[in-house]
Amino acid sequence: MVRSLLPTMLQFLLHGLTVLLLPPLLPGLIAKTKAVMAGRKGPPVFQLYYDLAKLARKQAVFSRTTTWVFLAGPVGGVAAGLAASCLVPFGHTPAPISFEGDVILFAYLFGLARFLTILSALDTGSSFEGMGAAREATFSALAEPALFLGFAALAKATSSLSLGTMLAFPGSLTARFTGPLILVFAGWAIVYLAENSRIPVDDPNTHLELTMIHEVMVLDHSGRPFALVLYGASLKLLVLGALILTPALPRAPQAWQNWLVFYAALGLLAVGVGLVESAMARFRMTKVPQFLVAGVLATGFAFLLLLV
């Protein structure tokens, strides 16, 4: 009994620790990659950890316009992200919570996070943040179908509705499914960039508020709320990363090997994002929808391939 239970408990523990500690590393990796590509030294990989620690000690400033909704953004964002992280398997180690249809819950938890973030942005009454909120709402309306078409494709392929089994796909990988799988991956990569507001959709580092989407929504946050915002963003990188990586990962015999594979893949993903960011420029705002539609088409096509 205990023998069988203990490993799972350890798995869950590890899962939790990964979720709590690992995320801030990813932005660091991305930044590092970009710096290296640009021939700069760049900030240390653990920069975000330092930032968070400092912010946690700072006092927050609140505009007189804001209400409690202003705090709901950061809180909801992180809480939803963490809740979602309980549903997604990391590599081939199963998720702590897993049931038929959790995939929808997963998607809607991110929807919740977005909703609250938008509201807290609007709460400031700032024109810039309103602008960002509007863009976020608009673009996510396109990202959503892409995500769901991907799910539909995987569900069709695996005739299952639980992230655990849907993503543990390659186990049963046959020639028929490779094509669709690649398409799904492509589509989701686009979603990944958009959802995490990376180049070419958005540029987290710019200081031209007029051009920003996500970053501009949190202009007024400071102190611990801002810490939560940053952490939430990195958490999103991790969880969605796990989502798009898992189908691509090979299954290893041992649990610890699976973990290693997963971490490696995660690192590679971060580096990959960094490479994309240093290779491409931001799209014009009007181009962004087309980019996202491309994602929708990719996943949709994948689904069609599976239908016929």
């Binding site: 963490l82 809607y108 938890l109 299952s160 508020e209 689904f303």
Partner: protein, 645 residues
């Protein structure tokens, strides 16, 4: 059943004392309605918990036709939202109607009658009782919409509503006539197998779809809905949107429950209409800047979602896939209750905004979150639920439909499930944007007008029902297992012998688990970042702009502009761009509004045309006696010749 009849009587009589009492009439009415609610809900819960349903036959019916009321699980299930919303509305109206013009006692009486006919309609199981309750409901609602009939807009809205509902009723006339022909009697009972595929079955399907579609507000029969909901007093809008529309759904559900073997294309039609209503409904909602119109269009959207569920269930029934059947119907039925809860909540809170600021225009509001926090909370809860975000009730029902659709993918190859999936996903995303717009425009940021700046929190009598509904939303969302058994029982009526049960298909407890996790985490983090010392009085940073001004904010319209532009092919917004000329341009203005596709672009022109035609035929009554005699002569000649020939 006796309790139930008492409930009907109590509801009907609720307004009567008010006619004679000088004061406190409202309280008495609310009390009686509360009593009715207790009785009715008690009876319904008994039935839903497996108790025996009752039936009631009218001994002396007109011309020997027996009327019948039957309290089956379906009726009991629909009774829940009806009574919950009615009593909430009654309490709400205490605060809402105080110090308003208009003959309130009479309206209270009508309100009571409306509730009574609703409760009766739910149990009606004979064509005549059904039509009786149906029309009673329609007319009572009409009178309530007309509550503020001094405004021309209200009169127009009321008239449009009256015409629409009557047209629907005429379709029902035909439908029930056909039904009577099939059965040989006008009682409600299951249709013989194989009939659905016949020509009669087809006719029946379309007639019922049209008849009930008008009431439910299915696109393109929805045109009466936005104006009526905007014009009516808010608690009435709540009742209309929350319950009246559902009576159309109830009709469809009853009809579908009679059909043992629906053709596949029925499901297809339902899904198609559902997708249409859902997507266009929310799209048009995005284009609105009148708060209540916006909510009205969202009712259309939710009706669409319900139709998607019904369509899914019908597909399952037609193709013999119990899973789709159970999940589809269960999702649809649960969404019926959920929508009535959160839409009622939304309309009530919108009402208290209107009550204190006197405007429904999103562009003239803002910043109410600080002035009326409780209302803001209620509205936020409603928006949260209507966007289908966990852990509120909206999510659960949509989740069931999603689940059914995904299962459908695994089973059959037909593309309908994916239509359902995509529509739901799109609807979800757009609804999220739309309610971010609505909540942001009304409650967040700085007040855009003095009216908004001087807003007051609503009185307790108005807050109480909101709180009630909000609690219900959260309750169903966090612990769906509470309602699962009842839902299962009703689903068995819709999907008899499906072999599988709801509880075996959906891991509802785990949703509660995640919800709890979410709640705990949220609380923890809030605790961590909660402001400890009183915040210094500072303006929004706004990238250092010194004097942020209410007029600089993103308005609701500008928030939605991107999406409206993206959807312009469907919305066809009418925009008046400002003309900026010269070096020192004079002040100008930008206007945009989204006309209703059916009412403003189709119905009204058609009406004008026919009126012109009629006015040209007026010459036939030209006042000349000889001409009149000529008609007589011609008639005679025509008939004689026809007779000879």
């Amino acid at each position: 059943m006796r309790l139930y009849l008492l409930a009907i009587l109590a509801a009907a009589a609720s307004g009567v004392p008010g006619l004679f009492l000088r004061r406190k009439g409202g309280e008495v009415a609310a009390g009686l309605l509360g009593l009715a609610a207790v009785l009715g809900l008690w009876a319904s819960l008994q039935v839903l918990s497996g108790g025996p349903g009752g039936s009631f036959g009218l001994r002396t019916a007109s011309l020997g036709l027996p009327g019948l009321l039957v309290l089956d699980p379906l009726a009991a299930f629909f009774t829940i939202p009806v009574l919950l919303l009615s009593v909430s509305g009654a309490i709400y109206s205490l605060g809402y109607w105080e110090g308003r013009r208009g003959n309130t006692p009479a309206l209270r009486l009508v309100y009571g009658l409306l509730v009574a006919s609703l409760v009766m309609l739910v149990t009606a199981s004979h064509a005549l009782t059904f039509l009786l309750a149906w029309e009673g409901m329609a007319i009572a609602a009409f009178l309530l919409v007309m509550a503020e009939d001094r405004e021309i807009e209200t009169r127009r809205a009321g008239w449009i509503y009256l015409v629409a509902t009557h047209t629907g009723t005429l379709f029902l006339f035909a439908a029930f006539a056909l039904l009577a022909k099939i059965h040989g009697h006008s009682g409600f009972s299951a249709l013989p197998a194989g009939l659905a595929a016949s020509r009669e079955g087809t006719a029946l399907f379309w007639l019922f779809l049209l008849g009930f579609g008008f009431k439910a507000g299915i696109l393109p029969l929805h045109f009466w809905l936005p104006p009526a909901h905007a014009a009516a007093p808010s608690h009435v809008s709540a009742l209309m949107s929350g319950v009246l529309l559902k009576m159309g759904i109830l009709g469809l559900v009853r009809f579908l429950s009679w059909v043992p073997d629906p053709p596949i294309w029925w499901g297809g039609v339902l899904v198609a209409l559902g997708a249409l209503s859902g997507i266009l409904g929310v799209a048009f909602a995005l284009g609105q800047h009148d708060l209540k119109r916006l909510l009205a269009y969202h009712s259309i959207e939710n009706i669409g979602i319900i139709l998607l569920g019904l369509g899914l269930g019908t597909l399952g029934k037609a193709t013999g896939h119990p899973v789709m059947q159970v999940l589809g119907f269960a999702g649809a039925l649960l969404h019926v209750i959920n929508h009535s809860l959160f839409k009622g909540l939304l309309f009530l809170s919108a009402g208290s905004v209107l009550h204190t600021t006197g405007t429904r225009d999103l562009e003239r509001l803002g910043g109410l979150g600080q002035r009326m926090p409780w209302t803001a909370g209620a509205f936020l809860a409603g928006s949260w639920a209507i966007c289908g975000l966990p852990p509120l009730n909206g999510f659960v029902s949509e989740w069931l439909i999603y689940l059914g659709a995904f299962r459908g993918l695994g089973l059959g190859r037909q593309g309908w499930p994916v239509v359902i999936l995509l529509s739901l996903a799109l609807i979800g995303a757009l609804a999220l944007a739309c309610f971010a717009k609505a909540f942001g425009g009304v409650f967040l940021g700085l007040p855009r007008t003095d009216g908004a700046a001087q807003a007051q929190e609503a009185p307790r009598s108005m807050l109480l029902p909101m709180g009630l509904l909000a609690l219900a939303c959260v309750g169903i969302g966090v612990a769906p297992v509470l309602i699962a058994p009842a839902l299962g029982r009703v689903t068995e009526i819709m999907a008899p012998g499906a072999g599988t049960t709801l509880s075996s298909l959906a891991g509802l407890p785990l949703i509660s688990g995640v919800a709890v996790v979410l709640g705990l985490l949220a609380f923890l983090f809030w605790w961590w970042i909660r402001p400890v010392q009183p915040a210094a009085d500072l303006p929004t940073w706004d990238c250092g702009y010194a004097a942020p001004d209410a007029r600089m904010q993103y308005t609701a319209s500008s928030f939605a502009d991107g999406l409206v532009w993206g959807l312009r092919w469907a919305l066809r917004p009418r925009v008046r761009f400002p003309r900026v000329v010269g070096w020192f341009p004079r002040p100008t203005r930008y206007e945009s509004h989204v006309p209703d596709p059916v009412l403003d672009r189709a119905a009204a022109p058609a009406l004008r045309l026919s009126i012109r035609g009629a006015s040209q035929l007026r010459v036939f009554q030209g006042g000349e006696l000889p001409v009149y005699l000529l008609y007589v002569l011609l008639t005679l000649l025509v008939l004689l010749v026809w007779m000879v020939a």
